[in-house]
Amino acid sequence: MCGIAGLIHRGKSSNVGRELQDMLQALKHRGPDSTGYALYGEGNNQGDYIMRFKVGENVAEGSSAINEDKSVYDERRKQVDKHIRDLGGSIVNDQQLTPYSFRYCIKYNKDLMEFSKVIEGVEMVEILSIGKSLELIKDLGDAKVVSKRYGLDKVKGTHGIGHARMATESGVDIRSAHPFWGYPFSDVSVVHNGQLTNYWNNRRALENKGMRFMSECDSELIAVFLAEKMRNGATLEEGMKESLSGLDGVFTYFVATKDSLGMAKDTMAAKPLVLYESDDLVAMGSEEIAIRSILPQEIDTYDPFDGEVKVWQI
Protein backbone atom coordinates (compact mmCIF):
# COMPACT_ATOMS: atom_id res chain seq x y z
CA MET A 1 0.00 0.00 0.00
CA CYS A 2 2.62 2.55 1.15
CA GLY A 3 2.05 6.09 2.34
CA ILE A 4 3.70 9.22 1.06
CA ALA A 5 3.81 12.72 2.46
CA GLY A 6 5.37 15.99 1.46
CA LEU A 7 5.36 19.64 2.40
CA ILE A 8 6.93 22.89 1.30
CA HIS A 9 7.10 26.16 3.19
CA ARG A 10 7.21 29.06 0.82
CA GLY A 11 9.41 31.92 1.88
CA LYS A 12 10.54 30.56 5.23
CA SER A 13 12.18 27.67 7.06
CA SER A 14 10.45 25.46 9.53
CA ASN A 15 11.01 22.33 11.56
CA VAL A 16 10.44 20.09 8.53
CA GLY A 17 12.04 17.07 10.20
CA ARG A 18 9.46 17.02 12.98
CA GLU A 19 6.58 17.92 10.66
CA LEU A 20 7.38 15.13 8.22
CA GLN A 21 7.86 12.70 11.08
CA ASP A 22 4.36 13.45 12.34
CA MET A 23 2.86 13.14 8.86
CA LEU A 24 4.55 9.81 8.20
CA GLN A 25 3.73 8.44 11.62
CA ALA A 26 0.05 9.13 10.88
CA LEU A 27 0.47 6.95 7.78
CA LYS A 28 2.22 4.10 9.58
CA HIS A 29 -0.67 1.71 8.92
CA ARG A 30 0.00 2.07 5.20
CA GLY A 31 3.60 0.90 5.47
CA PRO A 32 5.28 -0.44 8.58
CA ASP A 33 8.40 -1.95 6.97
CA SER A 34 10.62 1.06 6.47
CA THR A 35 10.47 4.85 6.52
CA GLY A 36 12.43 7.37 4.54
CA TYR A 37 12.90 11.11 4.60
CA ALA A 38 14.27 13.55 2.05
CA LEU A 39 14.73 16.78 3.98
CA TYR A 40 15.87 19.99 2.36
CA GLY A 41 17.73 21.76 5.11
CA GLU A 42 20.16 24.57 5.41
CA GLY A 43 23.24 22.65 4.27
CA ASN A 44 26.56 23.30 5.98
CA ASN A 45 26.76 26.99 4.95
CA GLN A 46 30.05 26.41 3.13
CA GLY A 47 28.47 25.23 -0.10
CA ASP A 48 29.90 21.77 0.32
CA TYR A 49 28.12 18.63 -0.76
CA ILE A 50 26.38 16.55 1.85
CA MET A 51 26.71 12.88 1.00
CA ARG A 52 24.65 10.26 2.80
CA PHE A 53 25.74 6.71 2.16
CA LYS A 54 25.60 3.25 3.61
CA VAL A 55 28.16 0.47 3.66
CA GLY A 56 25.81 -2.31 4.72
CA GLU A 57 22.23 -3.10 5.57
CA ASN A 58 20.16 -3.01 8.71
CA VAL A 59 19.73 -6.69 9.52
CA ALA A 60 17.34 -6.20 12.42
CA GLU A 61 14.31 -8.43 12.83
CA GLY A 62 12.10 -8.27 9.78
CA SER A 63 14.92 -7.40 7.43
CA SER A 64 15.41 -9.45 4.29
CA ALA A 65 19.07 -8.42 4.06
CA ILE A 66 21.89 -10.91 4.52
CA ASN A 67 23.67 -10.71 7.85
CA GLU A 68 27.32 -9.70 7.56
CA ASP A 69 30.26 -9.50 9.89
CA LYS A 70 30.29 -5.83 10.84
CA SER A 71 34.06 -5.72 10.66
CA VAL A 72 33.72 -5.32 6.87
CA TYR A 73 32.02 -1.95 7.38
CA ASP A 74 35.25 -0.26 8.49
CA GLU A 75 37.14 -1.57 5.52
CA ARG A 76 34.45 -0.36 3.11
CA ARG A 77 34.43 3.05 4.70
CA LYS A 78 38.20 3.32 4.35
CA GLN A 79 37.88 2.49 0.68
CA VAL A 80 35.25 5.21 0.26
CA ASP A 81 37.49 7.75 1.98
CA LYS A 82 40.40 6.80 -0.26
CA HIS A 83 38.27 7.07 -3.42
CA ILE A 84 37.06 10.53 -2.43
CA ARG A 85 40.63 11.73 -2.05
CA ASP A 86 41.76 9.98 -5.25
CA LEU A 87 38.96 11.70 -7.16
CA GLY A 88 40.21 15.09 -6.01
CA GLY A 89 37.70 15.61 -3.25
CA SER A 90 38.18 16.23 0.43
CA ILE A 91 36.17 15.28 3.48
CA VAL A 92 35.30 18.35 5.52
CA ASN A 93 33.25 16.58 8.13
CA ASP A 94 32.23 12.99 8.74
CA GLN A 95 29.64 11.41 10.99
CA GLN A 96 28.86 7.78 11.60
CA LEU A 97 25.15 7.58 12.35
CA THR A 98 24.68 3.84 12.66
CA PRO A 99 27.13 0.97 12.14
CA TYR A 100 26.19 1.02 8.44
CA SER A 101 25.32 4.61 7.55
CA PHE A 102 27.30 7.82 7.30
CA ARG A 103 26.94 11.52 6.61
CA TYR A 104 29.89 13.31 5.03
CA CYS A 105 30.41 16.93 4.05
CA ILE A 106 32.74 16.92 1.11
CA LYS A 107 34.38 19.39 -1.21
CA TYR A 108 34.17 18.22 -4.78
CA ASN A 109 33.75 20.16 -8.00
CA LYS A 110 33.83 17.59 -10.77
CA ASP A 111 31.33 15.24 -12.40
CA LEU A 112 28.97 13.63 -9.86
CA MET A 113 28.16 10.69 -12.11
CA GLU A 114 31.78 9.63 -12.32
CA PHE A 115 32.19 10.26 -8.60
CA SER A 116 29.20 8.07 -7.76
CA LYS A 117 30.30 5.25 -10.03
CA VAL A 118 33.66 5.03 -8.29
CA ILE A 119 32.28 5.26 -4.75
CA GLU A 120 29.53 2.72 -5.44
CA GLY A 121 32.15 0.42 -6.94
CA VAL A 122 32.95 -0.55 -3.35
CA GLU A 123 31.02 -3.67 -2.43
CA MET A 124 27.64 -2.98 -0.76
CA VAL A 125 28.24 0.77 -0.72
CA GLU A 126 25.30 2.89 -1.87
CA ILE A 127 25.11 6.65 -1.99
CA LEU A 128 21.71 7.53 -0.63
CA SER A 129 22.01 11.14 -1.71
CA ILE A 130 24.35 13.91 -2.69
CA GLY A 131 23.25 17.49 -2.44
CA LYS A 132 23.89 20.91 -1.05
CA SER A 133 20.69 20.94 0.96
CA LEU A 134 19.27 17.42 0.59
CA GLU A 135 19.55 15.02 3.51
CA LEU A 136 18.15 11.62 2.52
CA ILE A 137 17.64 9.19 5.36
CA LYS A 138 15.94 5.81 5.15
CA ASP A 139 15.94 2.79 7.37
CA LEU A 140 13.77 0.03 8.74
CA GLY A 141 11.10 0.98 11.26
CA ASP A 142 8.32 3.50 11.52
CA ALA A 143 8.69 7.26 11.24
CA LYS A 144 9.40 7.87 14.90
CA VAL A 145 11.93 5.07 15.15
CA VAL A 146 13.88 6.27 12.12
CA SER A 147 13.62 9.91 13.18
CA LYS A 148 14.96 9.11 16.64
CA ARG A 149 17.74 6.92 15.25
CA TYR A 150 19.01 9.73 13.02
CA GLY A 151 18.03 12.76 15.13
CA LEU A 152 15.66 14.20 12.53
CA ASP A 153 13.07 15.88 14.69
CA LYS A 154 15.18 19.02 15.00
CA VAL A 155 16.12 19.35 11.33
CA LYS A 156 15.09 22.72 9.95
CA GLY A 157 14.45 23.41 6.32
CA THR A 158 12.02 24.57 3.68
CA HIS A 159 10.60 21.35 2.33
CA GLY A 160 10.71 17.59 2.34
CA ILE A 161 9.13 14.37 1.18
CA GLY A 162 8.81 11.05 2.94
CA HIS A 163 7.60 7.51 2.58
CA ALA A 164 6.20 4.77 4.81
CA ARG A 165 6.80 1.53 2.97
CA MET A 166 4.96 -1.74 2.79
CA ALA A 167 7.34 -3.98 0.85
CA THR A 168 5.54 -5.73 -2.02
CA GLU A 169 7.83 -5.70 -5.06
CA SER A 170 11.21 -6.14 -3.40
CA GLY A 171 12.92 -6.85 -0.10
CA VAL A 172 12.61 -5.30 3.32
CA ASP A 173 15.91 -3.47 3.29
CA ILE A 174 17.33 0.02 3.05
CA ARG A 175 18.25 -0.16 -0.61
CA SER A 176 14.62 -0.83 -1.56
CA ALA A 177 13.27 1.83 0.78
CA HIS A 178 12.20 5.23 -0.43
CA PRO A 179 13.01 8.04 -1.13
CA PHE A 180 15.26 7.43 -4.11
CA TRP A 181 17.97 9.86 -5.06
CA GLY A 182 17.74 11.22 -8.61
CA TYR A 183 21.24 10.04 -9.52
CA PRO A 184 23.37 11.75 -10.77
CA PHE A 185 21.67 15.08 -9.98
CA SER A 186 22.38 16.68 -6.67
CA ASP A 187 19.39 17.47 -4.47
CA VAL A 188 16.79 15.41 -6.39
CA SER A 189 14.65 12.83 -4.59
CA VAL A 190 11.49 10.82 -5.30
CA VAL A 191 8.86 8.92 -3.31
CA HIS A 192 6.15 6.80 -4.87
CA ASN A 193 2.93 5.05 -3.95
CA GLY A 194 1.77 2.52 -6.50
CA GLN A 195 3.04 -0.09 -8.86
CA LEU A 196 4.84 0.27 -12.19
CA THR A 197 4.22 -2.43 -14.74
CA ASN A 198 6.78 -1.50 -17.40
CA TYR A 199 9.68 -1.42 -14.97
CA TRP A 200 11.95 -3.91 -16.69
CA ASN A 201 11.50 -2.51 -20.20
CA ASN A 202 12.26 0.99 -18.97
CA ARG A 203 15.12 -0.20 -16.79
CA ARG A 204 16.86 -1.96 -19.66
CA ALA A 205 16.45 1.07 -21.90
CA LEU A 206 17.75 3.47 -19.26
CA GLU A 207 20.68 1.26 -18.29
CA ASN A 208 21.69 1.21 -21.93
CA LYS A 209 21.81 5.00 -21.72
CA GLY A 210 24.21 4.84 -18.77
CA MET A 211 21.74 5.33 -15.93
CA ARG A 212 22.21 3.38 -12.70
CA PHE A 213 19.78 1.32 -10.64
CA MET A 214 20.67 0.24 -7.11
CA SER A 215 17.62 -1.84 -6.23
CA GLU A 216 14.93 -3.92 -7.85
CA CYS A 217 12.21 -1.70 -6.46
CA ASP A 218 9.95 -0.48 -9.27
CA SER A 219 9.71 2.95 -7.66
CA GLU A 220 13.39 3.63 -8.32
CA LEU A 221 12.45 3.79 -11.98
CA ILE A 222 10.70 7.12 -11.44
CA ALA A 223 13.84 8.77 -10.05
CA VAL A 224 15.96 7.39 -12.87
CA PHE A 225 13.34 8.22 -15.52
CA LEU A 226 13.16 11.85 -14.38
CA ALA A 227 16.94 12.14 -14.02
CA GLU A 228 17.42 10.91 -17.57
CA LYS A 229 14.89 13.45 -18.91
CA MET A 230 16.60 16.25 -16.99
CA ARG A 231 20.01 15.10 -18.20
CA ASN A 232 18.68 15.64 -21.72
CA GLY A 233 17.59 19.17 -20.94
CA ALA A 234 14.00 18.78 -19.77
CA THR A 235 12.80 20.79 -16.82
CA LEU A 236 11.51 18.92 -13.82
CA GLU A 237 7.90 19.66 -14.76
CA GLU A 238 8.47 18.58 -18.37
CA GLY A 239 9.99 15.32 -17.19
CA MET A 240 7.09 14.70 -14.85
CA LYS A 241 4.55 15.30 -17.62
CA GLU A 242 6.42 12.85 -19.84
CA SER A 243 6.29 10.29 -17.05
CA LEU A 244 2.49 10.14 -17.29
CA SER A 245 2.78 8.32 -20.60
CA GLY A 246 6.27 6.86 -20.17
CA LEU A 247 5.43 5.02 -16.96
CA ASP A 248 2.76 2.35 -17.05
CA GLY A 249 0.85 1.34 -13.97
CA VAL A 250 -0.74 3.11 -11.06
CA PHE A 251 1.12 5.81 -9.23
CA THR A 252 1.12 8.96 -7.24
CA TYR A 253 4.61 10.27 -6.71
CA PHE A 254 6.39 13.30 -5.27
CA VAL A 255 9.67 14.68 -6.45
CA ALA A 256 11.72 17.34 -4.73
CA THR A 257 14.68 19.43 -5.79
CA LYS A 258 16.73 22.06 -3.97
CA ASP A 259 14.04 24.68 -4.44
CA SER A 260 10.87 22.90 -5.55
CA LEU A 261 8.36 20.20 -4.77
CA GLY A 262 6.19 18.41 -7.32
CA MET A 263 3.46 15.80 -7.52
CA ALA A 264 2.15 13.62 -10.34
CA LYS A 265 -0.83 11.33 -10.48
CA ASP A 266 -1.43 8.62 -13.07
CA THR A 267 -4.16 8.92 -15.68
CA MET A 268 -6.47 6.51 -13.85
CA ALA A 269 -6.12 8.34 -10.53
CA ALA A 270 -5.81 4.93 -8.94
CA LYS A 271 -3.69 6.01 -6.01
CA PRO A 272 -4.83 8.45 -3.38
CA LEU A 273 -3.57 11.93 -2.68
CA VAL A 274 -4.99 14.71 -0.55
CA LEU A 275 -3.62 18.18 -0.99
CA TYR A 276 -3.68 21.38 1.05
CA GLU A 277 -2.41 24.56 -0.54
CA SER A 278 -2.08 28.04 0.92
CA ASP A 279 0.11 31.06 0.15
CA ASP A 280 2.86 29.95 2.51
CA LEU A 281 2.46 26.19 2.82
CA VAL A 282 1.66 23.19 0.64
CA ALA A 283 1.14 19.89 2.45
CA MET A 284 0.06 16.63 0.87
CA GLY A 285 -0.23 12.99 1.73
CA SER A 286 -1.86 9.69 0.93
CA GLU A 287 -4.50 10.40 3.54
CA GLU A 288 -5.93 13.50 5.12
CA ILE A 289 -4.83 12.41 8.57
CA ALA A 290 -1.23 13.06 7.50
CA ILE A 291 -2.05 16.70 6.85
CA ARG A 292 -4.15 16.94 9.99
CA SER A 293 -1.19 15.82 12.05
CA ILE A 294 0.43 19.21 11.39
CA LEU A 295 -2.69 21.28 10.66
CA PRO A 296 -5.37 20.18 13.12
CA GLN A 297 -7.55 23.22 12.46
CA GLU A 298 -10.29 23.05 9.84
CA ILE A 299 -8.76 23.57 6.39
CA ASP A 300 -9.78 23.11 2.78
CA THR A 301 -8.22 20.12 1.08
CA TYR A 302 -8.84 18.39 -2.22
CA ASP A 303 -7.87 15.40 -4.35
CA PRO A 304 -5.87 16.28 -7.46
CA PHE A 305 -7.43 14.81 -10.60
CA ASP A 306 -6.16 12.07 -12.90
CA GLY A 307 -3.07 12.93 -14.91
CA GLU A 308 -2.38 16.03 -12.87
CA VAL A 309 1.14 17.40 -12.41
CA LYS A 310 1.92 20.27 -10.07
CA VAL A 311 5.20 21.90 -9.06
CA TRP A 312 5.68 24.48 -6.31
CA GLN A 313 8.73 26.65 -5.62
CA ILE A 314 9.98 27.62 -2.16
Partner: protein, 284 residues
Amino acid sequence: MANIKNSTKKTKAQSMGMHTEALTGKTQQKFFNPDEAENFFYWGTHDVDFNKRTEIDVKDMDCNEANKKIDSLMSEGYGTIVIKNPQGKHSLGVGILNKLNLIFEGSLGYFGIGSIDGPIVRVNGRVGWSCAENMMAGKVVIEKNAGSCFGAAIRGGDLICKGSVGARTGIDQKGGSIIVGGDAGAFTGFMMQRGRIVILGNVGINLGDSMYDGTIYVGGKIGSFGSDAVKAPMTKNDMDWLKRKLKVAEIGSDFDVSKMTKVVAGKKLWNYDALEPTEKKGAI
Protein backbone atom coordinates in the same frame (compact mmCIF):
# COMPACT_ATOMS: atom_id res chain seq x y z
CA MET B 1 -45.68 -11.58 0.53
CA ALA B 2 -45.71 -8.20 -1.11
CA ASN B 3 -47.39 -8.25 -4.46
CA ILE B 4 -45.26 -6.28 -6.86
CA LYS B 5 -47.36 -6.06 -9.98
CA ASN B 6 -46.02 -5.55 -13.42
CA SER B 7 -47.20 -2.43 -15.14
CA THR B 8 -47.54 -1.99 -18.86
CA LYS B 9 -47.91 1.76 -18.44
CA LYS B 10 -44.71 3.65 -19.11
CA THR B 11 -43.49 5.26 -15.92
CA LYS B 12 -41.53 8.47 -15.46
CA ALA B 13 -38.46 6.44 -14.63
CA GLN B 14 -38.76 4.61 -17.93
CA SER B 15 -39.16 7.81 -19.87
CA MET B 16 -35.93 9.09 -18.29
CA GLY B 17 -33.92 6.19 -19.52
CA MET B 18 -34.37 3.99 -16.45
CA HIS B 19 -36.20 0.73 -16.25
CA THR B 20 -39.18 0.47 -13.94
CA GLU B 21 -38.73 -0.62 -10.36
CA ALA B 22 -41.50 -3.21 -10.97
CA LEU B 23 -38.97 -5.85 -11.87
CA THR B 24 -39.92 -8.71 -14.12
CA GLY B 25 -36.63 -10.39 -14.85
CA LYS B 26 -34.23 -12.61 -12.99
CA THR B 27 -33.38 -9.90 -10.51
CA GLN B 28 -36.90 -9.74 -9.07
CA GLN B 29 -36.75 -10.05 -5.30
CA LYS B 30 -39.38 -9.78 -2.60
CA PHE B 31 -37.83 -8.91 0.71
CA PHE B 32 -40.55 -7.51 2.91
CA ASN B 33 -44.15 -8.32 3.72
CA PRO B 34 -46.05 -5.28 5.04
CA ASP B 35 -48.62 -7.60 6.61
CA GLU B 36 -45.93 -8.91 8.91
CA ALA B 37 -44.54 -5.50 9.81
CA GLU B 38 -45.39 -5.90 13.48
CA ASN B 39 -43.08 -8.87 13.71
CA PHE B 40 -40.36 -7.21 11.73
CA PHE B 41 -37.19 -6.27 13.61
CA TYR B 42 -34.35 -4.49 11.87
CA TRP B 43 -31.28 -5.47 13.84
CA GLY B 44 -29.03 -2.65 14.93
CA THR B 45 -31.61 0.11 14.79
CA HIS B 46 -32.83 2.46 17.49
CA ASP B 47 -35.87 4.63 18.05
CA VAL B 48 -34.57 8.15 18.35
CA ASP B 49 -36.02 11.59 19.00
CA PHE B 50 -34.79 14.29 16.63
CA ASN B 51 -35.37 16.90 19.32
CA LYS B 52 -32.97 15.15 21.68
CA ARG B 53 -29.60 16.64 20.76
CA THR B 54 -26.04 16.13 21.95
CA GLU B 55 -22.43 16.80 20.93
CA ILE B 56 -19.33 14.64 21.20
CA ASP B 57 -15.68 15.53 20.66
CA VAL B 58 -13.87 12.66 18.91
CA LYS B 59 -10.45 14.33 18.85
CA ASP B 60 -8.95 11.75 21.18
CA MET B 61 -11.02 8.77 20.05
CA ASP B 62 -10.21 6.25 17.35
CA CYS B 63 -12.91 5.38 14.84
CA ASN B 64 -14.11 2.32 16.79
CA GLU B 65 -14.58 4.35 19.95
CA ALA B 66 -16.33 7.16 18.08
CA ASN B 67 -18.72 4.80 16.26
CA LYS B 68 -19.54 2.94 19.46
CA LYS B 69 -20.23 6.27 21.15
CA ILE B 70 -22.64 7.26 18.37
CA ASP B 71 -24.39 3.90 18.70
CA SER B 72 -24.59 4.30 22.45
CA LEU B 73 -26.13 7.77 22.11
CA MET B 74 -28.71 6.47 19.63
CA SER B 75 -29.63 3.70 22.04
CA GLU B 76 -30.31 6.46 24.58
CA GLY B 77 -32.71 8.05 22.11
CA TYR B 78 -30.58 10.93 20.85
CA GLY B 79 -31.79 11.82 17.36
CA THR B 80 -29.46 14.73 16.63
CA ILE B 81 -25.76 14.15 17.21
CA VAL B 82 -23.00 16.65 16.44
CA ILE B 83 -19.47 15.29 16.03
CA LYS B 84 -16.69 17.74 16.86
CA ASN B 85 -13.09 17.43 15.63
CA PRO B 86 -13.30 14.42 13.31
CA GLN B 87 -9.92 15.59 11.91
CA GLY B 88 -9.88 13.32 8.88
CA LYS B 89 -10.36 10.08 10.78
CA HIS B 90 -11.45 7.08 8.71
CA SER B 91 -14.69 5.11 8.84
CA LEU B 92 -16.66 7.50 11.03
CA GLY B 93 -20.46 7.30 11.09
CA VAL B 94 -20.71 3.91 9.41
CA GLY B 95 -23.47 1.34 9.70
CA ILE B 96 -26.23 3.63 10.96
CA LEU B 97 -29.48 1.92 10.04
CA ASN B 98 -32.11 4.25 11.51
CA LYS B 99 -33.26 7.84 11.16
CA LEU B 100 -30.79 10.28 12.69
CA ASN B 101 -29.54 13.81 12.21
CA LEU B 102 -25.78 13.43 12.21
CA ILE B 103 -23.59 16.50 11.80
CA PHE B 104 -19.80 16.42 11.46
CA GLU B 105 -18.09 19.70 12.33
CA GLY B 106 -14.99 19.05 10.22
CA SER B 107 -13.60 16.65 7.66
CA LEU B 108 -13.67 12.87 7.40
CA GLY B 109 -11.07 10.46 6.06
CA TYR B 110 -11.71 7.32 4.03
CA PHE B 111 -14.88 5.20 4.09
CA GLY B 112 -16.89 7.73 6.08
CA ILE B 113 -20.65 7.22 6.52
CA GLY B 114 -20.56 3.85 4.77
CA SER B 115 -23.37 1.27 4.76
CA ILE B 116 -26.00 3.61 6.14
CA ASP B 117 -29.75 3.11 5.81
CA GLY B 118 -31.74 6.18 6.66
CA PRO B 119 -29.84 8.93 8.49
CA ILE B 120 -29.53 12.52 7.36
CA VAL B 121 -25.86 13.43 7.50
CA ARG B 122 -24.13 16.75 7.01
CA VAL B 123 -20.35 17.06 6.82
CA ASN B 124 -19.17 20.64 7.25
CA GLY B 125 -15.85 19.80 5.69
CA ARG B 126 -14.33 17.39 3.21
CA VAL B 127 -14.54 13.61 2.88
CA GLY B 128 -11.90 11.14 1.68
CA TRP B 129 -12.20 8.11 -0.58
CA SER B 130 -15.33 5.95 -0.70
CA CYS B 131 -17.68 8.23 1.20
CA ALA B 132 -21.13 6.68 1.79
CA GLU B 133 -20.12 3.42 0.18
CA ASN B 134 -23.07 1.00 0.02
CA MET B 135 -25.53 3.64 1.27
CA MET B 136 -29.09 2.26 1.21
CA ALA B 137 -31.21 5.27 2.11
CA GLY B 138 -31.01 8.71 3.68
CA LYS B 139 -29.42 11.96 2.69
CA VAL B 140 -25.76 12.94 2.93
CA VAL B 141 -24.53 16.48 2.24
CA ILE B 142 -20.83 17.26 1.97
CA GLU B 143 -20.14 20.98 2.16
CA LYS B 144 -16.63 20.89 0.62
CA ASN B 145 -14.79 18.43 -1.65
CA ALA B 146 -14.78 14.64 -1.76
CA GLY B 147 -12.18 12.06 -2.71
CA SER B 148 -12.39 9.23 -5.22
CA CYS B 149 -15.03 6.49 -5.28
CA PHE B 150 -17.64 8.90 -3.91
CA GLY B 151 -20.85 6.91 -3.47
CA ALA B 152 -19.34 3.59 -4.50
CA ALA B 153 -22.06 0.95 -4.87
CA ILE B 154 -24.82 3.04 -3.32
CA ARG B 155 -28.29 1.53 -3.60
CA GLY B 156 -30.46 4.45 -2.58
CA GLY B 157 -30.75 7.87 -1.01
CA ASP B 158 -29.33 11.24 -1.99
CA LEU B 159 -25.59 11.77 -1.80
CA ILE B 160 -24.57 15.37 -2.37
CA CYS B 161 -21.17 17.04 -2.61
CA LYS B 162 -21.20 20.81 -2.98
CA GLY B 163 -17.54 20.90 -4.06
CA SER B 164 -15.60 18.69 -6.47
CA VAL B 165 -15.12 14.93 -6.33
CA GLY B 166 -12.29 12.61 -7.37
CA ALA B 167 -12.22 9.67 -9.78
CA ARG B 168 -14.70 6.78 -10.09
CA THR B 169 -17.63 8.66 -8.56
CA GLY B 170 -20.63 6.33 -8.43
CA ILE B 171 -18.60 3.26 -9.32
CA ASP B 172 -20.90 0.23 -9.26
CA GLN B 173 -23.86 2.45 -8.32
CA LYS B 174 -27.05 0.42 -7.98
CA GLY B 175 -29.58 3.13 -7.16
CA GLY B 176 -30.10 6.50 -5.53
CA SER B 177 -28.77 9.85 -6.65
CA ILE B 178 -25.31 11.38 -6.52
CA ILE B 179 -25.22 15.13 -7.04
CA VAL B 180 -21.98 17.11 -7.36
CA GLY B 181 -21.81 20.89 -7.47
CA GLY B 182 -18.27 21.07 -8.87
CA ASP B 183 -16.14 18.89 -11.12
CA ALA B 184 -15.66 15.12 -11.15
CA GLY B 185 -12.61 13.07 -12.09
CA ALA B 186 -12.05 10.17 -14.48
CA PHE B 187 -14.28 7.10 -14.73
CA THR B 188 -17.35 8.78 -13.26
CA GLY B 189 -20.21 6.26 -13.27
CA PHE B 190 -17.82 3.37 -13.91
CA MET B 191 -19.88 0.15 -14.13
CA MET B 192 -22.97 1.86 -12.74
CA GLN B 193 -26.05 -0.29 -12.87
CA ARG B 194 -28.88 1.96 -11.79
CA GLY B 195 -29.54 5.35 -10.23
CA ARG B 196 -28.58 8.82 -11.35
CA ILE B 197 -25.44 10.93 -11.21
CA VAL B 198 -25.55 14.71 -11.65
CA ILE B 199 -22.33 16.65 -12.17
CA LEU B 200 -22.80 20.39 -12.58
CA GLY B 201 -19.16 21.02 -13.54
CA ASN B 202 -16.76 19.21 -15.83
CA VAL B 203 -16.01 15.49 -15.80
CA GLY B 204 -12.79 13.69 -16.68
CA ILE B 205 -12.09 10.92 -19.14
CA ASN B 206 -14.03 7.68 -19.60
CA LEU B 207 -17.39 8.91 -18.34
CA GLY B 208 -19.81 6.05 -17.75
CA ASP B 209 -17.31 3.42 -18.78
CA SER B 210 -18.92 -0.05 -18.83
CA MET B 211 -22.19 1.25 -17.41
CA TYR B 212 -25.11 -1.21 -17.58
CA ASP B 213 -27.91 1.18 -16.83
CA GLY B 214 -28.69 4.41 -15.01
CA THR B 215 -28.39 8.01 -16.12
CA ILE B 216 -25.64 10.60 -15.85
CA TYR B 217 -26.23 14.32 -16.32
CA VAL B 218 -23.26 16.63 -16.91
CA GLY B 219 -23.40 20.42 -16.84
CA GLY B 220 -19.85 21.13 -18.04
CA LYS B 221 -17.33 19.59 -20.39
CA ILE B 222 -16.83 15.84 -20.75
CA GLY B 223 -13.23 14.61 -21.00
CA SER B 224 -14.30 11.56 -23.01
CA PHE B 225 -16.97 8.89 -23.05
CA GLY B 226 -16.16 5.42 -21.78
CA SER B 227 -17.14 2.35 -23.69
CA ASP B 228 -20.90 1.68 -23.57
CA ALA B 229 -21.80 5.26 -22.62
CA VAL B 230 -23.83 7.27 -25.12
CA LYS B 231 -25.60 10.62 -25.24
CA ALA B 232 -29.38 10.68 -25.00
CA PRO B 233 -31.88 13.49 -25.51
CA MET B 234 -33.06 15.44 -22.47
CA THR B 235 -36.79 15.17 -21.83
CA LYS B 236 -39.13 17.34 -19.80
CA ASN B 237 -39.16 14.65 -17.14
CA ASP B 238 -35.38 14.84 -16.93
CA MET B 239 -35.47 18.58 -16.47
CA ASP B 240 -38.26 18.48 -13.91
CA TRP B 241 -36.41 15.85 -11.92
CA LEU B 242 -33.13 17.78 -12.11
CA LYS B 243 -34.73 21.03 -10.94
CA ARG B 244 -36.37 19.27 -8.04
CA LYS B 245 -33.23 17.39 -7.04
CA LEU B 246 -30.95 20.41 -7.27
CA LYS B 247 -33.31 22.26 -4.99
CA VAL B 248 -33.25 19.39 -2.50
CA ALA B 249 -29.46 19.28 -2.82
CA GLU B 250 -29.15 22.96 -1.92
CA ILE B 251 -26.99 23.61 -4.96
CA GLY B 252 -27.47 25.06 -8.40
CA SER B 253 -31.01 26.30 -7.97
CA ASP B 254 -30.47 28.75 -10.85
CA PHE B 255 -28.61 26.23 -12.99
CA ASP B 256 -29.91 25.92 -16.57
CA VAL B 257 -30.61 22.19 -16.63
CA SER B 258 -31.77 22.27 -20.27
CA LYS B 259 -28.12 22.66 -21.33
CA MET B 260 -26.94 19.58 -19.49
CA THR B 261 -25.73 16.51 -21.34
CA LYS B 262 -27.57 13.29 -20.60
CA VAL B 263 -25.61 10.05 -20.79
CA VAL B 264 -27.02 6.53 -20.66
CA ALA B 265 -25.82 2.99 -21.30
CA GLY B 266 -25.56 2.12 -24.96
CA LYS B 267 -25.16 -1.61 -24.46
CA LYS B 268 -27.89 -4.14 -23.98
CA LEU B 269 -26.91 -6.81 -21.49
CA TRP B 270 -28.02 -10.38 -22.08
CA ASN B 271 -30.24 -10.52 -19.00
CA TYR B 272 -31.68 -7.05 -19.33
CA ASP B 273 -34.09 -7.82 -22.16
CA ALA B 274 -37.15 -7.45 -19.94
CA LEU B 275 -35.80 -4.26 -18.45
CA GLU B 276 -34.46 -2.44 -21.46
CA PRO B 277 -36.05 1.00 -21.60
CA THR B 278 -37.57 2.12 -24.85
CA GLU B 279 -35.80 5.42 -24.73
CA LYS B 280 -32.41 3.80 -24.41
CA LYS B 281 -33.02 1.78 -27.53
CA GLY B 282 -33.70 5.04 -29.27
CA ALA B 283 -30.39 6.42 -28.06
CA ILE B 284 -28.53 3.41 -29.41
